[in-house]
């Protein structure tokens, strides 16, 4: 008798759980689809905020960046994609400081792992949403991230 009761109870419990599953998928059937029809909706394309497009250096309106040329990103990079070229400068107070000369980034060998961004102690670099990287010449993939005439933001 107990077995029969189990049989019937199990049957209806299973039926209930199957119906819950079917309800869930039917709701999913009518939700808005996440597919982006890319070349057509180029103007309105929405990428997720954590999408990693191109490595960029953050510059403010006065053309200041926050890079102190410490080279931690270059050391963190597994591919040797980043080269931080710096020079020594003497401040008016007589201190010798390192100043960023050129922040060289080879887009062609970057694997977008974000280790450089995580290594940066000043949040000077970040990944933006730009992903249309195709060019006809590999030399065009060698980018300089610090803008012309930019300087370190004064604390």
């Amino acid at each position: 008798m107990n077995a029969l009761k189990h049989y019937i109870v199990d049957f209806f419990r299973a039926l209930g759980s199957l119906l819950v599953g079917m309800k869930t998928t039917m709701r999913e059937f009518f939700t808005r689809k996440t597919t982006e029809c890319y070349p057509e909706n180029r103007a309105t394309l929405k990428l997720s905020p954590r999408f990693r497009g191109t490595l960029t250096m953050i510059h403010d309106e006065e053309n200041h960046h926050r890079c102190v040329a410490c080279g931690l990103c270059q050391m963190a990079c597994p591919n040797g994609t980043i080269h931080v070229v710096s020079r020594q400068e003497t401040t008016p107070e007589g201190k010798t400081v390192r100043v960023l000369d050129r922040y060289e980034y080879n887009l062609g060998s970057c694997m977008f792992c974000q280790l450089c961004v995580n290594a940066c102690p000043h949040q000077a670099i970040t990944f933006d949403q730009e992903f249309e990287h195709a060019v006809f010449d590999r030399s065009k993939l060698l980018l300089k991230l610090n803008k012309e005439g930019s300087s370190l933001k004064k604390q």
């Binding site: 049957f11 199957l18 599953g21 079917m22 998928t25 999913e28 059937f29 939700t31 689809k33 029809c37």
Partner: protein, 358 residues
């Protein structure tokens, strides 16, 4: 109600006017065969397209949308690609059986397909024992699948084929029981008669509770019969690469693929014919004006609408539930579906005897 037999009789008379009868009948058979195969291929394309779109919608995607408007030419492009591919003959395979197997599968499904009454006067095969013939014809497919698995000389193919055999032979039982439940209500096995008897009301409403239970059992067993949905373990990709058709390439694989989809349509069309009235429009006894309006919609529209509705139900099941293990499949069949089917049949017998149906 549009009667297609007017067209066939006119055509027969036309041929008889300048041909002897034997030649005319032969010519008609050839033409019907051609139309049948054309419909078969087009339905397969439509179903594959529908499958891809519906599956995409369940997974929150759009599905194919690049080739033609809404991607409707995607399947035709796939078919063309498949046709241009080489049919590879593997070494140490049983050459004859290996090449024969896909055709057995397709012949079985074409035979079962030609049993479906599409419109009034548009039955191709219409026996007195049509239900038996359909079930027998659709079971030939198992032989093709077993042959494919055996002759491929590949252990995964063989495991897939054996699973398929175990599964299809057991679920045949449930299909038979649920169809028999309805046959008890109709007291006929001829498909045209089964549809005619639903003129006042479809069987799923006429037979109420037992018919509904039989419909659900039929859907589950039909899904298993076509190796789809949660019962697709004969071709479980993650375990058996592709099951019984692992070693097939080109159009031989294409035939298996097409037969699988059309088998799904056959299951759906059979459910539509037996439970939802086939080409019979939706009639409510007593409302003559409403019934007359419904009669203006031609029968094949009703048939395909119902069949595709059932196909959608099957796809809903397929894209909801995870795959079962082989022991779970047999457990479900022998410990749940068969006893419930038998009890349901008894219930239907009681209802028919005491005339409790509508």
């Amino acid at each position: 109600m549009f009667d297609f037999s007017i067209v066939t009789q006119w055509f027969h008379a036309l041929l008889l006017s300048f041909l002897p009868e034997g030649v005319a009948v032969f010519l008609e058979c050839v033409i019907i065969g051609l139309f049948l195969l054309l419909l078969y291929a087009l339905l397969a394309c439509a179903l594959i397209f529908m499958e891809r779109k519906v599956c995409a919608a369940y997974q929150c995607r759009l599905g194919p949308n690049r080739v033609g408007p809404w991607g409707i030419f995607q399947v035709f492009a796939d078919v063309l690609k498949m046709l241009t591919k080489e049919i590879i003959e593997i070494r140490h395979a049983d050459r004859l059986l290996y090449n024969l197997a896909p055709y057995i599968v397709v012949v079985a499904s074409v035979l079962a397909f030609s049993c479906l009454p599409i419109n009034k006067g548009m039955e191709i095969l219409d026996f007195h024992v049509g239900v038996f013939f359909m079930m027998a014809a659709s079971s030939i497919g198992v032989v093709g699948i077993l042959l494919a698995g055996w002759s491929s000389n590949n252990k995964y193919s063989l495991i897939g084929a054996m699973r398929s055999g175990a599964q299809m032979i057991s679920y045949e039982l449930s299909i038979g029981l649920s169809i028999m439940t309805v046959v008890m209500l109709t007291d006929t096995m001829q498909f045209s008669q089964i549809v005619e008897r639903q003129a006042d009301c479809w069987f799923i409403f006429k037979g109420h509770i037992p018919a509904l239970i039989a419909f659900v059992i039929y859907l589950i067993a039909g899904n298993a019969e076509t190796n789809r949905g949660p019962f697709d373990l004969p071709e479980a990709e993650s375990e058996l690469t592709a099951g019984y058709h692992t070693e097939y390439s080109g159009m031989h694989f294409g035939l298996f693929y097409v037969a699988e989809f059309v088998n799904m349509f056959i299951v759906a069309g059979m459910a539509a014919t037996i439970f939802l009235g086939g080409w019979m429009p939706f009639h409510i006894p007593g409302l003559d004006g409403f019934n007359a309006v419904m009669d203006y919609i031609p029968g094949f529209v009703w048939f395909f609408a119902k069949a595709f509705f059932v196909v959608f139900l099957l796809m809903w099941i397929k894209w909801t539930f995870p795959r079962l293990r082989v022991d779970q499949i047999l457990h479900l069949e022998w410990k749940y579906l068969v006893p419930i089917g038998l009890v349901n049949m008894l219930l239907m017998a009681v209802i028919v005897v005491f005339n409790w149906h509508f």
